[in-house]
Symmetry: C2
Subunit: 202 residues, 2 copies
């Protein structure tokens, strides 16, 4: 009997955990760190306080897990967006890499990450975890960009070229926070993909 | 007598107003919109609730003024950083424009603006004011960048080149939020100023 019910129980437990993580991110966005208690997150997730504390004994445990969850989702989104580009060659590939990278930075996961960064900037207990995971996501993004752009980082300046591109993608994400910036963004992406292609080939 | 005391009274009133605006921004950063009441801001500023309500009858009045205050300070900082560049010519000028623009986006005023944007993204009552002022600061920054870079926007792609540069500056500001990113940033600025100079002259 134990083995028969184990699956569904684990599924329920996992689903509860996910609901708590998503509620934690939404709560942080709305109420900031000081207003984001385990009780409030549990209420929002429709989970009892006891069940929430079973999964996450402290507020730090809950938000550290929420930060990891966002980072994992961002990595997965990045791979999913960039993998199809492998089949394309030439300037069209450069354009697609830039477009998909910028796409990852302008989506809902970037918004969630942005809320975490801003909260972490003012809250010591969040900062270390957020900074480490951000560095990890950053390195992974850089590695994928270098590989897919066919950028030769042994040439002087190529590393900085790719880094500047990722900074631009991050800035485009920020510009999209309050208004739909997609029309302007498309023109910038289109133009800078061309510049980038010249620089990397030149 | 009235005219004799008027000056100091006005000074005091202005000083109180400024303290309230600065406390409002700090409060929003720490407690989010939902936790940022006029009472809390007044306490933080060391001002009575009555005096706070004399200056700002509603929470919307207070935060709209705080948003304007940050926008004005950002404009002033921008002019102050860029004006000395007028005396420089050639590639050195391009480098200085890029460095000073990025400097404005990585300073404490950008951090304050970032907190306002993130709060406004989730709070309807802040969004319109923040979006309008952000658009105004953005246009002013673009205009100054075009002028100081000597960029000819009638040439195809030049407008997008400058826009992409400002997006990159914004992204570099974000990268500096959690850690001191200055060493990496200097290399990116140095390299991209060279690329930009080639593109604008080429």
């Amino acid at each position: 009997m134990g083995t028969v019910t184990k699956g569904p129980q684990q599924d329920r437990s996992r689903a509860t955990r996910l609901r708590l993580l998503e509620a934690a991110i939404a709560c942080l966005a709305e109420h900031g760190w000081s207003g984001s208690t385990v009780s409030l997150v549990a209420t929002r997730a429709g989970v009892s306080r006891g069940a929430a504390q079973h999964h996450f004994p402290t507020r730090e445990d809950l938000f550290t897990a929420a930060v990891e969850y966002v980072a994992e989702q961002r990595s997965a989104a990045l791979r999913e967006a960039l993998d199809p580009v492998r089949g394309v060659v030439g300037p069209a590939r450069t354009y697609l890499v830039v477009r998909e990278l910028v796409g990852v930075y302008t989506g809902p996961l970037f918004r969630a990450a942005l809320h975490l960064w801003v909260a972490a900037a003012d809250e010591e207990r969040l900062r270390a975890g957020v900074t480490d995971l951000e560095a990890r996501v950053g390195r992974e993004t850089h590695r994928m960009a270098v590989e897919l752009l066919g950028a030769d980082e042994t040439r002087p300046g190529v590393r900085e070229t790719v880094q500047g591109l990722l900074d631009m993608a991050r800035g485009l994400g920020l510009a999209n926070l309050l208004t739909d910036d997609s029309a302007r963004r498309e023109r910038v992406v289109d133009h800078w993909a061309g510049l980038l292609d010249d620089v990397l080939r030149g």
